[in-house]
């Protein structure tokens, strides 16, 4: 029944302008030039979102739990005399290249239509939601995610917390139990708090840019992560998207050569809300 209704309503909800009048579309821009791969964002995410630290063995068996991860790529630069000289140093240039990867909050999310109980669906804010108390743990969404950013609670990780440590859990979001899928939420608890504050301030449809930060953004020492409302033309993130000519509702960006913006696996037409700015290395210097 649920599947039938879902199929019926799918095309309607997938119209480009379905959520056009909503005041918010949360988006992110990550400058890989600024990213130094320190992992502060990952640590901040663990602390904010009640993530369990599962340890090396469970990570090895594929039970890792990290909503945000730093992906490492090694692209050795073309050999130039200067680089070769540098080889002699203690810290030679190996061409390390980091990419923080979290849920891309796709607007055409592959995880959403496959959920048998609609525990993951698209919110009007452009967020890819995960309702824990609805989830039955089929793990279909994780299998369908091209970014591999959904994590399943194979164990009751919260039981591993020794006594005083349960006090550090964030009360603003639930502690997930066994059998539930979870993923980056763009710190929805902070979004909720920011909207609440905006309503108190008397402008419920407008969250001031900069008042709302995700945990990873707050933790980033080089300010590589920018988060905000893509519907707000004055927001930092919207300006960043515009200056790099990356637009929503496009699977092939029509942009000039010298801009760095791109979305990961854009060719899959997932319409993600996270833009990365490519790393540029000056090999001539």
């Amino acid at each position: 029944m649920a599947l039938k209704r879902m199929l019926e309503n799918w095309s309607r909800l997938r119209q480009q302008d379905y959520y056009a009048e909503e005041p918010y579309m949360w988006g992110m821009a990550i400058d890989l030039n600024k990213c130094i791969g320190c992992g502060a964002c990952v640590t901040a995410c663990y602390a904010e979102n009640n993530l369990p630290v599962v340890g090396k063995e469970r990570c090895g068996s594929g039970h890792s739990m990290h909503w945000m991860r730093i992906e490492r790529y090694w692209t050795e630069p073309e050999g130039t005399p200067e680089i070769e000289q540098e080889e002699a140093s203690d810290f030679p240039e190996r061409g390390a290249h980091y990419l923080p990867m979290m849920c891309q909050q796709c607007n055409h999310a592959p995880c959403e239509p496959v959920c048998p109980v609609a525990a993951t669906y698209h919110s009007p804010d452009g967020l890819n939601t995960q309702v824990y108390n609805r989830c039955v743990g089929s793990r279909y969404c994780a299998n369908n995610c091209p970014y591999k950013v959904r994590y399943f609670n194979f164990f009751e990780f919260w039981k591993d917390l020794p006594h005083p440590l349960e006090m550090q859990l964030n009360p603003d979001l639930s502690v997930r139990d066994k059998g539930v899928m979870e993923k980056c939420t763009f710190c929805v608890q902070r979004i909720r708090a920011a909207k609440d504050a905006a309503e108190d301030a008397g402008h419920p449809e407008h969250v001031e840019d900069g008042t709302l930060m995700t945990a990873c953004q707050q933790g980033c020492p080089t300010q590589a992560i920018v988060f905000g409302n893509l519907k707000d033309p004055e927001s930092k993130v919207k300006k960043s998207w515009a200056s790099h000519q990356v637009e929503l509702d496009r699977y092939e960006q029509d942009k000039s050569e010298d801009v760095r913006g791109y979305r990961v696996l854009e060719e899959l037409n997932t319409e993600s809300c996270v833009m990365y700015l490519d790393r540029v290395r000056d090999t001539e210097a």
């Binding site: 649920a2 209704r5 879902m6 309503n9 799918w10 309607r12 909800l13 379905y18 959520y19 056009a20 009048e21 909503e22 005041p23 959403e112 609609a118 669906y121 698209h122 919110s123 009007p124 804010d125 967020l127 939601t129 309702v131 824990y132 108390n133 609805r134 603003d172 979001l173 639930s174 502690v175 929805v188 608890q189 909720r192 609440d196 309503e199 108190d200 419920p204």
Partner: protein, 250 residues
């Protein structure tokens, strides 16, 4: 054959009895997780404070208007009044209170209205809207979820506080307002529902992908279209019902 028939009949009888018993118990389902008989450290008389003396609920539950939780007052707040009330000083409850004060210990109250951890409920939003914006009497507003507390001693959970309970208000007032009309007594005094609509009949909302027509899953823009037709003084007091699971589930 005869034995078979009698087996069927006893089966039917057993079913009838079972269904009847279940039907009788159904109204009491709401009290299944009732902790009203849980022993509180002090049998705090709400009926004297809120009822007889008419103290505003928010005098003690100060956080209700500015936080998502209402909070329980610190012992200092009790002492603040009671040190000036020698007439009741000898009562065992007050003696117990002063014991906690002298030992510098918090009173280990039990939480009566405990929502599941995956539920986000903001006292602030409700209090700000109903008490400060609409100007309704505080005790009636609190009573919508907490029952007629001024007749209780210790707090008891008398409303179901289920998702259907929340929706018994939130679906009903989507797109219409009863501002200016007196609040019907059954809404805030009846033990089951916040409204006169029975909780059992409330349809649980689905995310928009399952049911874009359900008022709870309606888009904000569509709700706006609907409410723009209302006169301004009514529109300003509308309940903004959630249209997205993530507004209440965390």
């Amino acid at each position: 054959m005869r034995q078979g028939i009698s087996a069927t009949w006893s089966f039917r009888l057993a079913w009838t009895v079972l269904v009847f018993a279940a039907g009788c118990l159904l109204p009491f389902g709401a009290w299944a997780d009732d902790v009203s008989n849980a022993p509180q450290p002090i049998e705090f008389p709400h009926d004297r404070h809120a009822g007889k003396f008419g103290i505003n609920c928010m005098y003690c539950h100060t956080y209700a208007r500015r936080s998502i939780v209402a909070g329980i007052p610190p012992v200092a707040k009790c002492i603040g009044c009671h040190q000036h009330l020698p007439s009741v000083r000898d009562k065992p409850r007050i003696q117990k209170l002063f014991t906690y004060w002298e030992q510098k210990k918090p009173i280990p109250w039990l939480k009566v209205h405990d929502l599941p951890d995956f539920v986000y409920f903001s006292h602030k939003r409700h209090v700000q809207r109903f008490i400060f914006k609409d100007g309704r009497p505080t005790q009636q507003v609190c009573a919508m979820c907490h029952g007629d507390v001024k007749t209780f001693t210790v707090g008891r959970k008398v409303k179901a506080l289920t998702m259907g309970f929340c929706l018994s208000c939130h679906t009903q007032f989507q797109g219409e307002s009863d501002i200016g009309k007196p609040m019907p007594a059954e809404r805030w005094m009846s033990p089951v529902a916040a409204t006169d609509k029975p909780v059992m009949k409330v349809e649980f909302p689905q995310p928009a992908v399952l049911d874009p027509e359900h008022p709870v899953t309606m888009k904000a823009a569509e709700v706006k279209k609907l409410t723009d037709r209302l006169p301004a003084e009514v529109r300003d007091h509308l309940v903004h019902a959630p249209h997205d699971c993530w507004q209440c589930h965390k």
